[in-house]
């Protein structure tokens, strides 16, 4: 009794089974609300075309991966986001991570650094060195990279509103170490649009912010050609509570806004597009996540080639970093987080990520301790070197389910992008509160599903048991703030203040003009003007932007 179609199978084989016993749930669905059927067959891929939809790795539309042999050449970059306290402490952590086999650095900055305040500003109270390292001036960067030669590492910086300043500091530091800008490798996040949507470290209104972004594109295309000038981020959109489809839809909509802004600023697409990079979340719904990464690659390739007319294949490639989902970590039974993170990391590697951060199990309590971060890194090393996942390209490609999901997610994300276009593009939609409202609705629904028992969180709403308190949490001591304030005061005292003032004045003039701002930022940081002073100049010229709040 062999069924010839899925319909026949449903009638002949599935129905009697369901009659005997109902399924665990009335409806199975992905995080994006797509119903999951019991099984997938060739009938679910009727308009699927291998050459058009998948093709080969390293070839358009890159569904299977951006490189021909992926991890067989070199495994993904293990890049743990780290930073706390002062530059000295973070420098020690970086050297520890590099000794343990980490292959790239990723700087976490504290909130005052991200929002443009020096450590001695009243708004910085209590925040100095807490969620990342405090950087006020080039002096701090010199300490942060002591004994780390910039031509030997690639460095990713999670910095947005103040991205041009930190990039200028990195270039200036390179020069001091004798490394030319053209030899520098790394990434700045520089994605202001998702700050308005989900992360909240914006300073200026969208339009001058976009101008700073495109200034960086133009400057790096000429001076720092190996630098990834932006990391267009879905990570925080997902952390704020979006679905997988919203994550890629909103992120690629932001991506198109940056590309359009750069074209409008007079850049030709193939000069800057190869340096665009992306950053996604890897959440718990395993197959949906794998499909999400594949869908994002295919959608971006189509947008870049068909909408923007890019000719260089590198402009079509969506290269991305992944971080496992911080919001999936639980405070109860924290060691379970090691397993969650491992599954999420597996999804990211099966999805073809270029680099990966794995969260530490103690992060529902504090920034990671050295023990916790070591386990997180070993998780990646086990995946890379023991599991065999790195030995073949896109092993889930061709699975009826994965291909069906990839197609569905591409379609759902495309619908979000079309909706945002109809509202006037990403900036107008943000001002309108569209993305924020969509995310809030999704996160509220998710929470209700947990509380209603529709969604299981092990150790939280099911399988609850007592658990021992974790010991050895990282604490940033209050002395950090005092020491950092002292150093910044010292820098202000020792520098040539007329030189710093002159540079700051020039920055104000350039900001008011249409000229590229990057050389003026570089002059400021080389004169040891502080980040807060530089931002004060820009706040006067550009004004500041309140949160686009919808509640």
């Amino acid at each position: 009794m062999a069924s010839k179609t899925k319909h026949e199978w449903r009638e002949a084989t599935l129905a009697p089974t369901l009659k005997r016993a109902a399924e665990r749930q009335e409806r199975f669905e992905t995080s994006s609300g797509l119903e999951i059927e019991p099984v997938y067959t060739p009938e679910d891929l009727t308009d699927f075309d291998y050459a058009r939809d998948l093709s080969y790795p390293g070839e358009y539309p890159f569904t299977r991966g951006v490189q021909a042999n992926m991890y067989r050449g070199r495994v993904w970059t293990i890049r743990q986001y780290a930073g706390f306290g002062t530059a000295e402490e973070t420098n020690q952590r970086y050297r520890y991570l590099l000794e343990q086999g980490q292959t790239g650095l990723s700087i976490a900055f504290d909130l005052p650094t991200q929002i443009g305040y020096d450590s001695d500003h009243p708004y910085a109270r209590g925040e100095v060195g807490k969620v990342g390292v405090a950087i006020d001036s080039l002096r701090d960067m010199e300490i942060l990279f002591q004994h780390i030669p910039l031509d030997k590492v690639s460095t990713s910086m999670t910095i947005n509103a103040t991205a041009p300043i930190l990039l200028a500091m990195y270039i200036a530091l390179g020069r001091k170490q004798g490394v030319e800008p053209a030899e520098l490798n790394g990434t700045i996040q520089n994605d202001i649009l998702k700050e308005y949507i989900a992360r909240g470290t914006h300073i200026f209104p969208p339009r001058p912010s976009m101008r700073l972004t495109t200034d960086i594109f133009a400057y790096c295309a000429e001076q720092v050609p190996r630098w990834n000038t932006i990391s267009i981020s879905g990570y925080h959109i997902r952390e704020a509570g979006s679905t997988a489809a919203q994550e890629i839809g909103f992120t690629l909509a932001n991506g198109t806004a940056y590309v359009q802004a750069a074209i409008d600023a007079g850049l030709s697409v193939d000069t800057f597009a190869p340096r665009l990079s992306f950053f996604f979340n890897s959440h718990l719904n395993f197959f949906e996540e794998v499909a999400k990464f594949r869908a994002a690659r295919r959608l971006w390739a189509r947008i870049m080639r068909d909408k923007f007319g890019a000719k260089d294949p590198r402009s079509w490639m969506l290269r991305f970093h992944t971080q496992t989902a911080g919001c999936s970590l639980t405070a109860p039974q924290p060691h379970n987080n090691i397993v969650r993170t491992a599954l999420e990391a597996l999804a990211a590697t099966l999805g073809g990520t270029q680099s990966l951060h794995t969260n530490s199990f103690d992060e529902a309590y504090a920034p990671p301790s050295e023990e916790a971060v070591t386990i997180a890194m070993r998780t990646q090393q086990i995946l890379a070197h023991e599991s065999g996942v790195a030995d073949v390209v896109d092993p889930l490609g061709g699975s009826y389910f994965i291909e069906h999901l990839t197609g569905s997610l591409e379609k759902q994300a495309g619908e979000y992008i079309a909706k945002i276009e109809s509202l006037g593009g990403a900036v107008a939609a943000i001002e309108h509160g569209y993305q924020q409202k969509e995310i809030q609705d999704s996160s509220y629904r998710y929470q209700k599903e947990i509380e209603g028992g529709k969604r299981t969180v092990v150790g939280v709403n099911k399988f609850v048991s007592p658990y021992p308190k974790i010991k050895g949490l990282l604490r940033v001591k209050p002395e950090v703030e005092r020491r950092q304030k002292e150093r910044t005061a010292q820098v202000r005292k020792e520098r040539d203040s007329s030189k710093a003032d002159k540079a700051l004045n020039r920055l104000g003039d350039v900001a008011r003009s249409a000229d590229n701002t990057m050389p003026a930022f570089l002059e400021c940081v080389e004169a040891y003007a502080t980040l807060g002073e530089i931002c004060d100049v820009l706040r006067r010229v550009f004004s500041t932007q309140k949160e686009f709040l919808v509640f």
Binding site: L111, G200, T201, G241, A366, V460, R475, E547
Partner: protein, 133 residues
């Protein structure tokens, strides 16, 4: 004198932009029939105290994930006390190590709700505490 609805100010002290929890809690309290005012992000302790008084809040819910809770929360409780409003129920949530909870309780934070808390627990805590006053 009893008010019809419990008035809650949900606030984000400091520079921290993580507002998912604050917004979810604010919405759940509103759905539970409370009057909820959400301040948005980047509030100084003074701004929060001012808003709590202006809005005549029965409850102030402080959401903080940046690790600055030991510096910023005392400034809120102290500020309310100085204005003679120690009657306001102050609760907190976010990323707060368990070891810090006793000192927060000492300065007047009545409960700390960490990640994984059910909004139902927060609602029933508020109802119990506010009607008992």
């Amino acid at each position: 004198m009893t008010k019809d609805k419990i008035r809650v100010l949900v606030a984000k002290p400091g520079l921290d932009g993580h507002d998912r929890g604050a917004k979810v809690v604010a919405r759940a309290l509103r759905d539970a029939g409370m009057e909820v005012i959400y301040t948005g992000i980047r509030q100084t302790p003074d701004m929060i105290v001012e808003a709590a008084i202006q809005e005549d809040a029965d409850v102030v819910g402080l959401s903080i994930l940046s690790g600055a809770h030991l510096e910023l929360l005392p400034a809120v409780t102290e500020g309310l006390r100085k204005k003679g409003r120690e009657d306001v129920l102050i609760i907190a949530g976010g990323i707060i190590p368990e070891d810090d909870i006793p000192s927060l309780k000492q300065i007047g934070v009545r409960a700390v709700f960490g990640p994984g808390t059910s909004t139902e627990d927060i609602i029933s805590f508020i109802r119990k505490e506010v009607t008992a006053e």
